[in-house]
Structure formats: C-alpha cells, structure tokens
C-alpha cells in the first residue's frame, strides 16, 4: 500500500514532466493531458478511502534521504490526512475543467504549475518528517505565486507578492523552530519526536515551548488564515484565476489547519493549552468579522474570500477546544469548506467567464437566462450556510457542540457566524440571480455547459453525501483525532475544564 501513496505523490509530477516536453502550441492536447494525469491521480488515490480504520499512520514509506542531518523520506497517512489527500486529488481535475476555457495564454506553463502544485499539496499532507514537510510546504508556494501572478486579474502582481511574503515570513520562523527541535532531539522524524516527547526524553521548558509553539503557530495561522493575519487572503483570492482560487481556498488554507493539528498540538501540548483562550478568541473574532465584512462586500470573490476567514475560524475553534467532538468537527469542516467554498469559487468563476465582472451589482435576475447555474449556486450557498442535510451543517454542529462542552460562551458567539453566513450567502444569491433580469445581463449569460456540469456536479453530490452520511468519513477521522488528543490530556498538569457526562460517555466508547 505504501507504493500507492508514492504513486499518488509522483503522478502529478510525472504529468508535469510530460507537459514540459509537450509542444506548447497544442492547447487542446495540453489540457487533455493534464486532465488525464489528474484523473489518473484521483483514481490512484481512491483506495485511500477504503483504508482500514486505524488511529496511527499507515501506508508508510520510510527511506533515508540524507545522512547528516538525518533527513528521511518518510510519508504516510492517518485518518485525517487521507481525506485531505483525496480532497486534493478530487479537486485538481475540477480545477483543470474550470481552466479549460478560462486560460488562453501560456497554457503549457499554467497546467505545469497546476500539477506541480498538486504534488506539493499532497506532499504537505503525507510528509512525516519535519524537514520533508517544510520542503513541500515551501514548494507549494512557488507554483501558486506564478498562478496568481501570471494568470490573475488586474492587481495580480501585488497579490502574488503579498501572498508569497506573508507565507515566507511565517515559514522561516517555522524553520527556525524546526532547527531548534532538531538540535534538542537529534531527530526530524515526526513520530520519532512524538515518542521522545511521550517518553519524557525531550522535555521542553515552558518558556521554550511557548516560543516554539508560536513559531509554528504563526506560520500555520497565516495560512489558515486566522484574524488578524488574514489580510493577504482577500487580495490573493480576488486576483487569482478560478483554479487558483479553488485550490487556495480548498487546500492551501487546510494546510494551515492541518499543521496546527499535526504539529502544534502533539509537539507542544502545554503551550497549546495555555494559549488556547487567546487563540479561540481570535478565531471567534475572525468568524464574526469575516461574516460582517461579507455583508458589505460588493465583490463576489472577495465575499467568498471573507467567508473563508469566517469558516476557517470554526476549524481553529474546534481544534483548540481539545474535545473529541470539536476536533472531529474541525477536520470535517476542513473537508466541507474545501468542497463548498471550492464550488462557490468555481461558480463565481463561471459567472466571471460570462460577464467579465465580479461586482455583484453587474448581475441581477441571472436565474432567468441561466437556471441551471442558479440551481447549482443555490445548493452550494445553502450548503455553505450550514443547512441541515448538507455538509457544512454536520461540521459546524460538531464544532459548536465540542466547544460548548468546554465553554458555552464561545459556542454561542461562534453560532453568530452561522447566522451571518446564511444572511450574506442568501442575500448574495438574491442579488445575483433573482429579480428582473436587466437587458445586458441576459445577453451574455448562457446556462452551464456540459464541461461545467462535469466540474460542478461531483461537488454537489459530495455536499449531499457528506451531509447525509457523514459516517463514511467520521469513523476514520475520529480514530486519528482521538490519538492526537489523548497524549495531550495525559501530559497536561492541570486538566482542562471538567467534561460533561455526555462527553465522558462519548470518550469512553471510543
């Protein structure tokens, strides 16, 4: 099985290599090649969904890369990362379809960068060596930088540089922390470090632990993005081409949340506990602030971008509630957000291709000429707003329940974000699709084509599936989140707030 994971990682890279030698003028061929490679990658990754329910890592490959420092090519997945890998491989073909017509200049380079980005993103989620993780983390930066900067909209260069520098500033601090950890422990292996910490061989002083935690945390928080480090996000989203926006929202933001779960919590449990109130507060500010900004946003892409700030706040809140339900909900919400926000960006991109405007005021009554598009948009908005039976509802509910176990106040405040989401999304729908169509709107608004349906329908199906039958996903997620939470509570000197009877019962059954 380990071979399979390496195959999933390397297939996009192979695709990029093929594109490199392909003739640059055959645009149709380049597109098809990319689609084929991304679909094959997706097919190769499908067995991950049927991996046995295990708490620890599986499908591991562990080869030496370098002797000094001892860097290993150590990859593997657990119940959290396998879904994120699937999210990447699932979304990439959709991005290819979304760029089919949209990208007309330098087609070869575009798809090359897209496939390189796919390898980088998969790598981030499967790397189990700190150094390897850092390498993949940085490797995602360059293709995304070019995707935004070359194929983006008017202010693309500003947005691309801002994106690069924000991420880079965060990640150099992480590198410093990685170096420090290596220096203290002599290993860069994540499971190895976990064992050292669990056995008490690597005892960090509280002050050191806080500093190291912060170094990692800032890098991840920028990526999530957590208020007030979110300012790069609206720019990057608005200026990026559709495929860039989809991957940025659906996957790159998850890298931050994933990092919190995979590194911050297990490596620095005390510091995580200690700083949780501050982080939760920031997350709640993000939830409410993002939602409020959405209400006054005239630009559709910016609106969806700020809704990401709000939605990702739930994820952080869930993680730092240190409850089983909260963590499960956070991971589930990561997947949900990937699916539904990806779909929103896809649909906004379709509107843009038709009218070349992202301003809400340029539309109105679009449902009359394009009923299919309107239907897709409505389902996606409702999913994103957390309507029961659709995916986000499950994630948000779990997070809120988990948070309520430790602090009812936080949960109550965060619930405000759900209400705001329904408000701004439905209002967006109303302003764009309902009402009398203006003359110039119906002119150029054709309904969705077959290619566009092929991109959007799988996302809709997934929204319903994840909303109705979450068990498919949650069984594997819970097994792994429980494993992350377990040592945390053992090692904390003062236990967190007392658990409710309900939560204790739940935890007992796991």
């Amino acid at each position: 099985m380990g071979v399979l994971l390496n195959l999933v990682l390397l297939l996009p890279l192979a695709g990029a290599a093929v594109l490199l030698i392909a003739p640059r003028d055959h645009h149709a061929m380049l597109r098809r090649l990319t689609l084929i490679f991304s679909l094959v990658t997706f097919a190769a990754s499908l067995p991950l969904a049927f991996a046995p329910v295990e708490a620890g890592f599986q499908m591991e490959t562990n080869l030496p890369w370098m002797a000094n420092p001892p860097i290993r090519y150590h990859v593997g997945v657990d119940g959290i990362s396998l879904w994120l890998v699937l999210l990447v491989t699932f979304l990439t073909p959709i991005c290819v379809l979304a760029s089919w017509r949209h990208i007309q200049s330098r087609v070869k380079e575009f798809f090359l960068f897209l496939l390189l980005l796919e390898t980088g993103m998969i790598g981030v989620f499967i790397a189990l060596d700190l150094f390897l993780f850092y390498v993949f983390w940085e490797v995602t930066l360059v293709p995304m930088y070019f995707l935004i900067g070359v194929w983006g909209h008017e202010r693309r260069i500003y947005a691309a540089i801002k994106f690069f520098l924000y991420t880079m500033a965060g990640s150099v601090l992480m590198l410093a922390a990685i170096l420090w950890l290596y220096n203290a422990s002599g290993t860069l292996d994540l499971p190895g470090l976990g064992r050292e910490i669990a056995a008490g061989r690597l005892a960090l002083e509280p002050g050191q632990q806080t500093l190291l935690f912060l170094a990692f945390f800032v890098a991840f928080a920028i990526k999530v993005p957590l208020f007030p480090l979110h300012t790069w996000l609206p720019d990057a989203h608005v200026e990026a081409p559709t495929a860039g926006s989809i991957l940025l929202a659906s996957v790159l933001l998850k890298m931050g949340a994933y990092g919190l779960l995979r590194f911050c919590l297990p490596l620095f449990p005390q510091a995580s506990r200690q700083l949780a109130p501050a982080i939760s507060t920031l997350a709640i500010i993000g939830i409410l602030y993002g939602g409020l900004v959405c209400l006054v946003q005239p630009n559709m892409k910016k609106l969806v971008a700020y809704s990401s700030v709000s939605h990702m706040g739930f994820v952080v809140l869930g993680i730092f509630s240190f409850t089983q339900l909260g963590a499960d909900g956070a991971v589930y919400q990561m997947l949900n957000h990937g699916v539904s926000t990806g779909a929103l960006f896809l649909l906004v991109g379709m509107l843009y291709e038709r009218r070349h405007s992202l301003e809400i005021s340029a539309y109105g009554g679009a449902a009359t000429p394009a009923p299919g598009l309107a239907a897709l948009f409505l389902i996606t908005s409702l999913a994103s707003a957390g309507l029961p039976l659709l995916n986000n509802f499950v994630g948000e509910f779990l997070v809120l329940q988990g948070v309520a176990e430790t602090s009812f106040g936080y949960a109550a405040l965060a619930a405000g974000g759900v209400i705001l989401a329904a408000w701004y999304l439905l209002w967006l729908y109303q302003r764009v699709f309902l009402g009398e169509p203006a003359e110039q709107v119906s002119d150029r608004l054709t309904d969705v084509g077959r290619r566009e349906l092929a991109a959007a329908v799988p996302l809709i199906v997934l929204m319903v599936w994840m909303g109705v039958y979450s068990k498919t996903f949650l069984a594997r997620i819970s097994a792994s989140t429980a494993r992350i939470l377990e040592p945390m509570e053992l090692r904390v000197g003062s236990p967190g707030p007392p658990l409710t009877a309900e939560a204790q019962r739940r935890r007992g059954t796991r």
Binding site: Y145, V150, A169
Partner: protein, 479 residues
C-alpha cells in the same frame, strides 16, 4: 633550490602562474583569428591547477618552513576558486568577443587572480596571506576596469583600487600589531604565543579588529560594503560574477585561517565583531537591494547580504558552522556566477540592457534564459529543492546549534525579506508583457550555454542531494 617534491604544495599556483604567463606571451604571437586558443589554454591551465590541488593534498602538512599548510580546507578552497574560475573563463568567451575586448589579457588576469586566491587558501603565515591577497586584488582591480571605453567601468576600477588599498592598509596594520603582540607571523606560532601569560591580549584584540576590517572589505561585509554596488555595476558582468564568488571565498578562507587557527584564544573579542558584521551585512544588503532597479546593483546588494549569511555561520565557531560556511560558499559560487552570466548575455552589446524594465516579458521572449535566471534567483531566495536552500539550512542549523537563536531568527527573517526583491525580477520576467521595442534575442553561444547548464545543474543537484558535498566539506572543516 627546493627539491621537486617540495614544490608539490604550491603546484596549483605554479601551474596557474606559468599558464598565465604563457597566455600573455602567446597573445602577442597568435593572430587575431586564433585568439580563441588562449581561452582553451586558460581552461586547461585551470583544470590542471584543480588536479594539482588534489595531488598536493596527497601529501598534506606544512611546507616552506611553515609558511604554507596543505590541508583539506585549503584543498576545498583551491578547488572552489578553480571551478569558479573555469566557469568564468568558459562563460566570458562570447562576452569578450561581443565587446571586442583583448582576450589574452583577460584570461591571464583571471589566472593570476586565481593563483593569488590559491595562495590565500594555503598560506599559514600572515605575510604570505597578504601577498596572496594582493596578487588576487591587483588582478581584479584591472579586470574591473576592463571596459576601457566605458567611464563607469574606469570609475569602478579606481574606486575599487583606492578603497581596496585603504582596506589593505588596515589589514597590514593588523598584521603589524599581531607581530608586535606575539612576535610571530606564522599562525601556529601566534597561537602558541597567545597561550603565554605575558601576551597583551587587548593588543591582539585590536589587531583582530583591524584584520577584520581588511577581510570585511574583501568579502563586502557591512559596514565596509560601500564600494560593492558601484564596482559590480561598473565591472564587466562576468567579472562582477567572478568578484562576488572567487575572491570572496578566498577572503573567507583567510578569515578561517587567521581567526580560527591563528587566534582562537581571542575569540571572546572577535566573536561579537563577527556577530555585528553578520547582522549588519544581512540587513544593509537586503534593505539596499529592495530599492534597486539596476539588475547588477541588485545582485551586488544581494551579495552583501549573502556575505552576512556566511558570517553567521562563522560566528557559530563550531565545526558545524565552518561546514555550513564552506557549503554555502560553494553553492553561492554556482548560483551567483550563473545569475551574473545570464545578465551578461541579456545586457547585449555595450551592456545596455541592465534595467529591470528591460527584462519585461523575458519569459516569453527567451524562455530558456528566463528559466535559468529564475532557477538561480529561486536558489538565492533559498526555496527548497535548490542548492540555496540547503546552504541556508546548514547555516542556520549551525547558528541554532551554537545557541545563536536570535541571530538565526534575524537572519531567517532577513532571507524572507530578500525574497521580495528577487521576486520583483521574476515578476518582471514572467508577469509583464514585453516592451514593443524590446531587443531581438541574440543566439546563446555554445560555451555560455554549457556554463549556464553546468551551474544550473549543480544548483539543482546540490538542492536534492547535497550529501556528497557536505561529506567532502566536513572532512575539510575538521582540519
């Protein structure tokens, strides 16, 4: 008259000097159509010097009454300057033809300069170190002013010469004070003298400071960096690439010798100086580069910053640190020389196109060269899977390892800041439409293409598998 075997320790320098002289003599004898042979001769000479360096390393140890010490570190530096010199000669052949510059003199000067740098690498005595430095410097002063008809080049040469002489004077003062305090010029003798209780350590600290001024000038460490942008801008581009790599590496070799072997006991005095120099160089270099629009000036400021990174490694004062510094110098040699050579080709006849704006749309106009330059710039940023990343990784690991957490953090933040101006070049190349009056691309000469491919290949290979270089260097660091 020394026996044959006794000459072995200086074999590379002998080969280089003989070859340089031969090039000069043949220059007069050969007709204009056959001047290209001189380049081949120079390349052969440098190659033989590299082999000579390996040969002489077969019999390590002191020679010439302790004036010369052949060890792994010396061999490393000799090989490094030989490789850089080889690539410089190979990469500047087409440049010299394009600018109709006298080829023979150019190659001869490069060879002499390399001989000086080789001496700096093996010398274990202050006077010989000084001689090596002067041989290397005099050749580079002339090389800087090689574009005789270009006022900027002449100005650069003059500036470099005057400021360089000034710095050398400081260095000599340092040598004199060291001699005054210890009564010795051999590094091992200085070290022994420092152990004696009656040695005046404050005088030695002063001497170290003066020596550091001289060396700091040569490696263009702030606050002795003022000359760098002007000189790099005025010098012919391949020379600027050479200046930023080979003489710098040799000066760092000198720093290693003088401070780590000669006066380790004075470390409490000179470590803080290195610390300050490192931080200042990184900061001044990166902030200075932010505002540049001339590509050569931008690379000049970046080279100041990179000197700062190397100084961080030396500040660590551990084997890790020395290894990291050596690795970085090797890596930097490939990527920076590569960048300057791309610039030299793109600048066109008379080096007219040096403004950032001239690079607009380069990704479309000249995809191959643009990709190479992008690779070198990404490596200078330190993006993983390029050599520059491992270079930085080892340096900051050494710093953290030695407890210099704050210097490491400041250095890393600096390298994040540096990303901005390298990205600016990438932005112009790939994200802007070409200007309507952009010059038609000139065909890439084969020799230059080969040089660039070698540099790029090294940058990539060292970015994925630096293991062998590191092992080799570790042997050198453990002298």
């Amino acid at each position: 008259m020394p026996q044959n075997l006794e000459l072995l320790p200086l074999l590379p320098e002998i080969v280089l000097s003989v070859c340089g002289t031969l090039v000069m003599v043949l220059d007069a004898a050969l007709g204009n159509s056959r001047k290209a042979l001189l380049g081949v001769l120079a390349l052969a000479g440098i190659y033989c010097a590299g082999v000579g360096a390996l040969l002489s390393n077969q019999r390590p140890g002191e020679a010439f009454s302790g004036m010369v010490t052949v060890d792994n570190a010396a061999t490393f530096f000799r090989l490094l300057v030989a490789v850089v010199g080889f690539l410089t000669v190979l990469g500047s052949m087409s440049y010299l033809r394009r600018e109709s510059l006298p080829q023979g003199e150019f190659y001869a000067l490069i060879l002499f300069s390399l001989a000086g740098q080789g001496l700096m690498a093996v010398a274990s005595e202050l006077i010989l170190l000084f001689l090596g430095l002067e041989i290397s410097s005099l050749a580079t002063y002339v090389l800087t002013g090689f574009l005789r008809r270009d006022a900027r080049s002449s100005e650069a040469a003059l500036k470099y010469f005057f400021l360089g002489s000034f710095a050398t004077a400081f260095l000599l003062y340092g040598v004199a004070l060291t001699y005054g305090a210890t009564g010795a010029t051999r590094l091992t003798a200085i070290r022994q003298a420092l152990d004696k209780p009656d040695t005046n350590l404050s005088l030695v600290a002063l001497a170290a400071a003066l020596l550091l001024v001289g060396i700091g000038f040569k490696v263009s460490a702030a606050p002795f960096q003022v000359w760098t942008p002007d000189v790099y801008q005025g010098a012919p581009s391949p020379v600027a690439g050479f200046l930023s790599t080979a003489p710098k590496a040799a000066a760092f070799a000198m720093l290693l010798r003088v401070f780590f072997i000669g006066m380790p006991q004075a470390a409490p005095a000179w470590t803080p100086m290195l610390w300050i120099l490192a931080l200042l160089s990184m900061t001044v270099g990166n902030f200075g580069a932010l505002l540049q629009t001339n590509i050569k000036r931008l690379l000049a400021y970046s080279s100041i910053a990179h000197a700062g990174y190397v100084l961080v490694a030396f500040t660590a004062r551990t084997d890790h640190g020395v290894t990291a510094a050596l690795v970085y110098l090797a890596v930097y040699g490939f990527m920076n020389l590569g960048a300057f050579l791309v610039v030299s080709h793109l600048a066109g006849p008379g080096e007219r196109y040096l403004d950032l704006e001239d690079y607009a749309g380069l990704g479309e106009r000249q995809p191959f060269l643009a990709a190479l330059l992008a690779l070198f710039l990404l490596s200078l940023i330190g993006v993983p899977l390029t050599a520059g990343f491992f270079g930085k990784f080892y340096i900051f690991r050494a710093a953290v390892n030695a407890g210099l957490i704050w210097l490491a953090v400041l250095g890393l933040l600096n390298s994040a800041l540096a990303a901005y101006y390298y990205l600016k070049v990438l932005v112009v190349m790939y994200m802007r439409a070409p200007a309507p009056d952009a010059p038609a691309p000139e065909p890439l000469p084969a020799a230059l293409a080969a040089t660039l491919v070698i540099s790029a290949g090294a940058t990539l290979v060292l970015g994925v598998r630096p293991g062998r270089l590191v092992d080799f260097v570790q042997g050198a660091a453990g002298w």
